[in-house]
């Protein structure tokens, strides 16, 4: 069997996808079994709320790590896992939000509205979730064709803001021990920092490349970086 890491066969990629799919389901399965067996501690609703939210954030960061990993390793096929990872991040966020609406608040719409308006950590968490919806809805090939690659990409750049909101949501929730939120914030800072750095490199490269056209020689040209 030819196990080329750089260019795996279609079958290998399908197998990797299947493994990642099952791995992404495991935390949900563990919570469901714990709920059934009543082993989630004295406050199981709090446990599943926390766990689903934290997994949504982890999966979001993993999704954002795909591009850097791909660039550093040269394993370009990793890109083919990104959609699934992003959709799992959404699935956990959806579960997190549903648990909040249903088990935590029992559809007490007044209390929910007050929470969203009045409590900053819920305001940003809610914003992050709402902004994820169009991304999940357009995570299919049909939507990419329909929107066109450029517009699709512009829309999906909102994931950077969503990730910042998600980390803030966690940070503003904790009372005093900011250890975990700080860890996620640092990871996100690296992931976003890399993109900023690459963008800067690209800008410099464009500036340093002499314009090819002969008729422009000795004329002043202003280069505007592409937005």
């Amino acid at each position: 069997m030819n196990l080329s890491l750089k260019a795996p066969s279609a079958g290998t990629i399908a197998a990797v996808k299947a493994v990642v799919f099952v791995l992404c389901l495991l935390p949900a399965l563990e919570l469901a079994l714990g709920w059934q067996a009543n082993t989630l501690g004295a406050n199981p609703i709090e446990t599943i709320t926390r766990a689903s939210g934290e997994w949504a954030l982890r999966l979001l960061l993993i999704t954002l790590a795909v591009t850097p990993l791909r660039r550093f390793s040269g394993l370009h096929w990793l890109l083919r896992l990104r959609r699934m990872l992003g959709l799992f991040a959404f699935a956990y966020a959806f579960g997190h939000f549903t648990i909040y609406l249903w088990l935590d608040q029992f559809f007490d719409w007044n209390a929910i509205a007050l929470d969203i308006l009045d409590r900053p950590f819920i305001t940003v968490g809610f914003a992050a979730f709402v902004l994820l919806i169009p991304l999940a809805a357009t995570s299919n090939s049909f939507a990419i064709r329909r929107l066109g690659g450029r517009r699709w990409q512009a829309l999906h750049r909102s994931v950077y803001a969503i990730a910042i909101f998600a980390v803030l949501h966690f940070w503003w929730l904790v009372k005093a021990d900011i250890g975990r939120p700080l860890l996620y914030a640092s990871i996100l800072a690296v992931l976003l920092g890399l993109r900023g750095w690459w963008r800067e490199l690209e800008r410099r490269r464009q500036l340093s490349v002499p314009p090819p056209a002969k008729h422009l020689e000795k004329k002043v040209i202003r280069l505007v970086p592409r937005q």
Binding site: G41, A42, N43, I45, E46, L103, D104, Q105, F106, D108, A111, L114, D115, D118, R119, P120, F121, W172, L173, V174, K175, A176, D177
Partner: protein
């Protein structure tokens, strides 16, 4: 004539139905447990082997609401010195030695004194007080404490007329506790009239036994009409002062935690709604009561005060 004889069984001694229904299962498991337990028993020093049961009398100040399960009371704790996860204190608090233990009562008192914990256990008749406990994080429990009124201790030391407040300083040992979460030692405070109130309890036990370390052994405060964090654990110093003492959470986030911190569904908090609470063990939330349901007894302490300002 109706003769109503009070039950001679403490409410906390009544076996919960769920346990009763699992009794055979318990017997089967305890067979193996006994063998292991016997082995452990012989390895323990004398003091630790002493009975952990406490004799107490029921109190008229107890609520008749169903108790929160013992397991939840002893494994779902906020005791940040031993970790910020609710399950951390039950895992880590065993590192704290609760004997020997002394409590220094000092400040504006006629007879300042250092009390040994065993003296305190005999200071006043121990009562079982079943209180509601409301945490600022919007969960609540019903806990059968064993203890005696703080007033009984304060009377021993004869507070001076100039004493207006009582400060509580709790145990801090950086060798066994974590650092740098909030400013430690954890301190709390009450106004003297709050401290003298008959509901204010110094607890030495819970569920008829001495306090587990994670619940604040060997001596903790219980102020049932205030958010849980006011009820300082593992107290080492009680100081009577003229000025309002600084309190740990108030120093950390003054806009969130006031000196009074009375349970008040009308005062908003930036993180948690205080209008409702989840009783541990229940699925649906319930409305939070003013002063945690103790308004009849304590509202008069705050007459004329703007409780939105003095939150």
């Amino acid at each position: 004539m109706l003769i109503h004889k009070p039950a001679d069984v403490l409410p906390s001694e009544i076996t919960p139905r769920s346990l009763f229904e699992r009794r055979r299962d318990f017997l089967a498991r305890s067979g193996a447990g006994l063998v292991a337990g016997a082995a452990l028993w012989h390895g323990l020093p004398g003091a630790a082997r002493a009975s952990t049961r406490l004799q107490s009398v029921p109190s008229a100040l107890s609520t008749t609401e169903p108790l929160t399960e013992r397991d939840a009371v002893t494994t779902y704790n906020n005791f940040y010195e031993f970790g910020t996860d609710k399950a951390d204190p039950a895992r880590n608090a065993h590192k704290m030695a609760v004997r020997p233990w002394t409590v220094n009562v000092e400040g504006l008192v006629g007879k300042p004194r250092r009390f040994d914990i065993d003296e305190l256990l005999r200071l006043a008749p121990l009562e079982e007080r079943i209180y509601r406990l409301r945490c600022v994080e919007a969960w609540s429990m019903v806990v059968p404490w064993v203890g005696f009124p703080l007033a009984a201790l304060l009377k021993e030391v004869e507070p001076l007329g100039s004493a207006k407040y009582v400060e509580f300083v709790t145990h801090y040992d950086p060798k066994i506790m974590i650092r740098d979460v909030i400013d430690w030692p954890y301190t709390e405070g009450l106004r003297l009239d709050e401290a003298m109130h008959p509901l204010t309890l110094l607890a030495v036990g819970v569920y008829g036994e001495v306090l587990p370390n994670q619940n604040g052994a060997p001596l903790r405060l219980v102020v049932p009409w205030k958010y849980g964090f006011k009820s300082a654990k593992s107290i080492v110093t009680i100081r009577l002062t003229e000025k309002e003492p600084a309190t740990a959470w108030n120093k950390f986030a003054p806009q969130e935690y006031g000196f009074y911190s009375n349970v008040n569904p009308q005062v908003r908090h930036p993180r948690w709604t205080q209008a409702t609470e989840r009783r541990i063990g229940e699925l649906r939330k319930r409305p939070t009561q003013m002063f945690n349901g103790y308004a009849d007894q304590v509202a008069s302490l705050y007459q004329g005060m703007d409780l939105k300002k003095f939150y």
